[in-house]
């Protein structure tokens, strides 16, 4: 239900970003986004720090991890790395869910899973991979001259933040701000959880015979 609601918004924002390159259209969306962005910036430093948010995130995380573990009990032969990836993806999804869809990266995280499922079903994975590669090769061949350092770093930052590759610079910085705050909260929550579990875990197995 949440994902279906999120899809139209993602398409809308994708459309917005593509029209930003045109001169005439973007100004309205820019300024409305400007207000939004300023609000996000001022809030993001605080909103990921409140106790309430952390409580919500922690409880949701616990629930989600429990579900993952129950699901993984059906397939007991899982490599640690695979399990770790699952847990990480779950944690990211919970984080994105607690962002309540106001930020681009949260929407991208929530949508990526659905998109991956769709791709699997349609077996279009090979096709898209091929297209991406050819496009990338063409791009790098034409742009032999390196972009200035700042631009390169901005691009890299766009790749780090999920769903922000083709986002304008100020929006990218906004998203990065919120993303960093959210990641910090996630790290704290997972640390606390891990400590709780390792402390409460059977000590006899850890401390010896």
């Amino acid at each position: 239900m949440v994902n279906s609601n999120l899809f139209p918004s993602i398409e809308a924002t994708g459309g917005e970003s593509s029209t930003e390159s045109r001169r005439k259209k973007p100004r309205i969306s820019e300024t409305e986004a400007e207000i939004e962005a300023r609000r996000i910036n001022e809030e993001s430093l605080k909103r990921w720090k409140t106790n309430r948010v952390q409580q919500i995130y922690a409880s949701k995380l616990v629930e989600a991890l429990r579900r993952v573990r129950q699901r993984s009990t059906n397939e007991p032969d899982k490599v640690v790395s695979v399990a770790a990836r699952e847990i990480r993806e779950t944690a990211d999804r919970v984080l994105a869910a607690s962002a309540k869809g106001t930020t681009r990266w949260s929407r991208a995280i929530l949508a990526s899973r659905v998109r991956a499922k769709l791709k699997k079903h349609k077996k279009a994975a090979k096709k898209s991979a091929g297209n991406c590669k050819s496009r990338k090769a063409a791009a790098t061949e034409t742009n032999r001259i390196k972009l200035p350092a700042v631009d390169r770093k901005l691009k890299f930052l766009g790749r780090l933040v999920p769903g922000c590759r083709k986002v304008s610079v100020p929006n990218l910085l906004d998203e990065a701000t919120d993303y960093i705050a959210a990641l910090e909260m996630q790290v704290r929550a997972m640390e606390a959880l891990a400590e709780l579990l390792t402390a409460a875990a059977p000590r006899t197995t850890l401390t010896g015979p």
């Binding site: 100004r27 890299f156 960093i180 000590r203």
Partner: protein, 336 residues
């Protein structure tokens, strides 16, 4: 003479001048004596753009709004204009923009407007007039918005005006800075970016000493990467901590709350309080380990029946509340 000049004008400028003609005609109609100042300004075709302003502004009887080239903004009487007098002035804006700024470079403060074409386009759709008339309504609405803006923002000296719902960003050029529309747009863009970089600077530790976008971006990227790596590591840790499928987290928390008779446990309340205290202190002393032990034994016994009764315990609401208080204590202790 007027005809020749009109032809001249038509050659140089296309649509603007045709509107200007109409405007002149209108003004002539409204104010028969009006022709002279305009004729004066028309006679010098080289001064067309600069002259437009001066010519207009020089005429007091016109009730035209003072838009460009003046430091003072007239109050209401100037702004209450009949629409016809405004025809064509709006369309001049874009062209006038650059030339007028060149004229008024010496003056201290300017009010420059960045026009929003799409907002105007919306209003165009509303009015089903011809294109020329659309231009006029454009200009009228722009004028009125701008007039309102000026009244609202006149007190602001050298700061950016807040955004109206009509999506105009009105910027004043500060003293001693270039008043090109391009450089102003550049400055606005740079200020936006630097504002956000400041937020990031607060967020990322160790960024205070670094000046310059490249260095700060480096730090930011490093920080994001390190956070992501930490999350990877922690998720691996969480995955390792629960190798056994029947190891259920519910156990841990439910054991604290459920008052199941445990031979090893002295009393449930003591264990609970001990546990929570440990959480508060965020230290792991022997008490903690012993409570771990205590939990372990019953867990071994209730292996098979782990999930159902405990999940029901969870659903009772006791466990979650305990968990919440735990988390609160945890986060309090972690210095958040």
């Amino acid at each position: 003479m007027n005809g020749a000049i009109e032809a001249d004008l038509l050659l140089d400028y296309n649509t603007d001048m045709s509107v200007l003609e109409r405007q002149r005609a209108h003004l002539k109609y409204l104010n028969p004596g009006f022709d002279s100042p305009l004729a004066g300004f028309f006679s010098d075709s080289s001064m067309i753009n600069g002259g437009v302003i001066d010519g207009f502004l020089g005429t007091d009887g016109l009730n035209l709004p003072m838009i460009y080239g003046q430091t003072t903004v007239e109050g209401d009487p100037r702004l209450s204009i009949s629409p016809e007098t405004m025809i064509g002035t709006g369309n001049f804006k874009k062209r006038k923009f650059d030339t007028e700024t060149k004229d008024c470079d010496g003056k201290k403060k300017k009010i420059l407007m960045m026009n929003r074409e799409d907002e105007v386009e919306e209003e165009d759709e509303k009015s089903k007039l011809t294109e020329q008339n659309n231009g006029s309504t454009k200009s009228i609405k722009k004028m009125k918005n701008k007039a309102k803006k000026e009244e609202n923002s006149y007190s602001n000296d050298s700061s950016k005006v807040t955004i109206q719902k009509t999506d105009y960003i009105h910027v004043r050029a500060r003293r001693g800075q270039a008043t090109d529309s391009h450089s102003i747009a550049e400055r606005v863009r740079r200020e936006k970016i630097s504002e956000r970089m400041k937020f990031l600077q607060d967020l990322v530790p160790g960024c205070d000493k670094i000046t310059g976008k490249a260095g700060m971006l480096d730090e930011i990227i490093n920080y994001v990467q390190s956070l992501q790596r930490q999350i990877e590591f922690l998720s691996m840790k969480l995955a390792v901590v629960n190798p056994r499928p029947d190891f259920d987290m519910d156990d841990i928390f439910a054991k604290e709350v459920a008052s199941t008779p445990m031979t090893v446990v002295p009393s449930p309340e003591m264990v609970n309080s001990g546990y929570s205290h440990e959480m508060v202190n965020s230290g792991y002393s022997n008490e903690m380990v012993s409570s771990g032990y205590l939990h372990f034994n019953p867990m071994q016994q209730v292996d098979t029946t782990s999930s159902d009764p405990l999940s029901s315990c969870f659903n009772n609401g006791q466990a979650p509340s305990m968990w919440d208080s735990h988390v609160q204590n945890l986060y309090g202790s972690l210095g958040v």
